[in-house]
Symmetry: C2
Subunit: 434 residues, 2 copies
């Protein structure tokens, strides 16, 4: 991103074809037709029971920064992407439309209208790639993270996957993981940008740097206090734990085990720590954990999990597969209809219906517009989309990251227990189209 | 990234523990010990025959921008990550060490010393996350892309996956794909930042916007000329092709088919185009292609492939799994040794040995340092690492993106034919440690 006077620009994080479509539409006069674009997922990743919406707030910021400054216009001119008339239209671009969407932390299912953009064709078409990049990435990570948090059943979760994904995706992943209930991240930029707590102590390199494990531990404790976490598996774990307690005393905060069969190792470590009087010293495990191995460790004396690769790669589903489709032109529903990739035309909204007990029953997706009515709401039912932008300006009440975190927690409580299982299966609730 | 006077800073794209290790080492005096850190992959992704190194040049730029300006120092102080002495050390941070590495476009195998950082512990330890984020991401994408390019067997490949990955990962993915032999990308920022050719014409939205397919095609041709690519599968493909040739004439550049069973559809399209006299109109296919479906289309009359999701997600291997390990301290090899995750200590280099015919035989990884000798080189053998940074400054002869593209092309020619198969198997050549 090149910085302009107005700050960094997101305008070129865009596919070439959006601007050529714009050029054509400006030329033939269709550019101003009022349109509705919708973001939805045709299906959940294979076997997943629910998806978690994430990235919406990042998208609102990115739309605010979607400006074609002199640097962007020069680039497009030099590369002959579009004609002069289009460049001059782009130079004045500000999004002035309305956007509604599922709030972050809300669950989604196949066909849920996750984001609805109402704007002229010209204003809406250029946001396709940016909207999808952000929502597909962040939702994929949050969806995987939510399963891990569920599997951890209340134990602390530390996100430490930055090294296994693109350096900027790492920052967004830390945010999505926190949204989904992770306790902290290793990523320092995520603290600056999103206010997420960071944590971390030591790698094996620190022990190897020193002349002995005892010296490394002593040094770390001098720098960070006895409440720190000592990494005990550089040489021999039993020896490492003995040395750790010798050096730190029984007040040692925690030990971390990063390799081997962590279940039995955690049991051994607990016994050894207890026998050394370090009864309050916690055990942190890390090393290629995913939701399944986290669940398998439920019976073991583990106090916290450090999760890396599987988190930032969406645990097998690195993208959410959402699409951005034109569904309405000048009040008329439109849809592609040549193949299995069919879409449902028309501006839509959705309600989640619940039993009297509060358990979710179904996602009802319905058409919005003149003469169409919203389904009646029961006591526990709720309309899912909220206003995000009005005439291009951020709407009141867009939730904070902490509020989105709470929203997900309570949304998951309402999911039928079948839908919370880690095993492959159908979506937790069906989607009904009215 | 916050912009400082010196430009954007990458310094916080870092894990918390790197700075706490630094703080401890500064306090106990080990921070200045001369160290060697090595980046390598313990294994290739499941069943892959080779990996492709990518991201090195992005990493060199990121190391240049690894500066703790006032904004970064403030953030670390506010979050109480490290003490005052460490903050003041960081404020002066400039990397002054030496870096060698495999050039971009070079193949790598398990244990290949892809990057070697020689610096004080303090200077080297803080680069771990940044180096791994960039190399793991870009190499994962380039490795998948190279298989796709091989499967396409000379046909044009267009990268169009931006929407299915983080918005900045999209730019890096476009670069990695181009390095691996893709022809062009849809991503406009990749053109600005890396000089990669972009392409793109139309989405289904453009046809849906207009009152008829014919009007949409006419509009596109007026804007982009008859050499453009018309998307013919919005309603009915046969009808779409007929309309396309009617509107554009037989000089139409190309048609794109984005859905359905593209093999038979391409055959039908070819016959229809030929019968309409549009013998030079090319056929572009897209829609959830990966290396296997590209290979399966080899016998079909397809002129170009558009590849999205599978490219940006590394086709099942979204991260390269490289690690950054301390291997030498003050001339003494060091290695973790508690578990299966063993590492080989010592500063290393590597030679790729070849038969007289030029076919690669093995990767020989050997120790470097006093009294150790490089293996003798045969006519086709070559030392793999090149100098990248010397005393913190970019070394002469770091290849350009175009040179890296050429390098990969010729490296792949040397791979035994077994190693070029798409099917799962062992690495194309074994790694021998001396």
């Amino acid at each position: 991103m090149t910085s302009t006077e107005a700050g960094p620009s997101t305008a070129l994080l865009t596919d070439h074809y959006e601007l050529t479509m714009l050029a054509g539409a400006l030329r033939d006069g269709t550019a101003n037709r009022p349109c509705v674009f919708e973001v939805f997922a045709r299906r959940l990743p294979d076997g997943r029971r629910y998806g978690v919406v994430a990235g919406t707030e990042r998208l609102l910021d990115a739309i605010r920064d979607f400006r074609f400054g002199p640097a962007e216009i020069d680039q497009l001119a030099r590369a002959s992407v579009v004609d002069e008339a289009t460049l001059s239209w782009l130079a004045d671009y500000r999004f002035t439309g309305d956007v509604d969407g599922y709030p972050e932390g809300e669950l989604y299912f196949p066909g849920s209208p996750i984001l609805t953009v109402r704007a002229s064709f010209a204003e809406g078409v250029v946001l396709e790639t940016l909207a999808l990049s952000i929502l597909n990435h962040d939702s994929a990570i949050a969806s995987a993270a939510a399963r891990m948090v569920g599997a951890a059943n209340g134990r602390r979760m530390i996100e430490m996957g930055s090294r296994r994904t693109h350096e900027e995706a790492a920052v967004a992943s830390a945010r999505a993981a926190y949204l989904a209930g992770f306790t902290a991240t290793s990523n320092l930029e995520a603290a600056r940008r999103h206010g997420i707590p960071t944590t971390g102590t030591c790698a094996h390199a620190y022990t190897l740097l020193h002349d002995s494990e005892a010296e490394a531990f002593r040094s770390q404790i001098e720098a960070l206090g006895v409440g720190t976490t000592l990494l005990v598996d550089t040489y021999d774990i039993t020896e490492g734990i003995r040395t750790a307690v010798e050096v730190a005393g029984p007040e040692l905060g925690a030990v971390r085990i990063d390799s081997g069969d962590v279940g039995p190792l955690a049991r051994q470590a607990r016994e050894q720590l207890d026998s050394l009087g370090a009864r309050n010293t916690r055990i942190v495990v890390s090393g290629d954990l995913d939701e399944y191995s986290i669940a398998a460790l439920r019976a073991e004396p583990v106090d916290a999990y450090g999760v890396g690769t599987s988190l930032v790669t969406g645990s097998g589903a690195p993208t959410a597969g959402m699409v951005y489709k034109l569904v309405e032109v000048a009040g008329r529903p439109v849809a592609k209809r040549s193949s299995h990739k069919e879409s449902r035309g028309g501006w839509k909204s959705a309600v989640r219906r619940h039993k009297d007990t509060g358990t979710a029953l179904e996602e009802v997706v319905f058409q919005v517009g003149d003469g169409r009515q919203q389904p009646e709401l029961g006591e526990h039912d709720r309309v899912l989309p909220i206003p995000l932008l009005r005439a291009g300006q951020r709407a009141d009440g867009v939730p904070t990251l902490e509020q989105s975190r709470d929203r997900l927690r309570s949304a998951l409580v309402s999911v039928p227990w079948e839908g919370l299982k880690l095993s492959h299966g159908e979506p937790a609730i069906p989607t009904t189209f009215r």
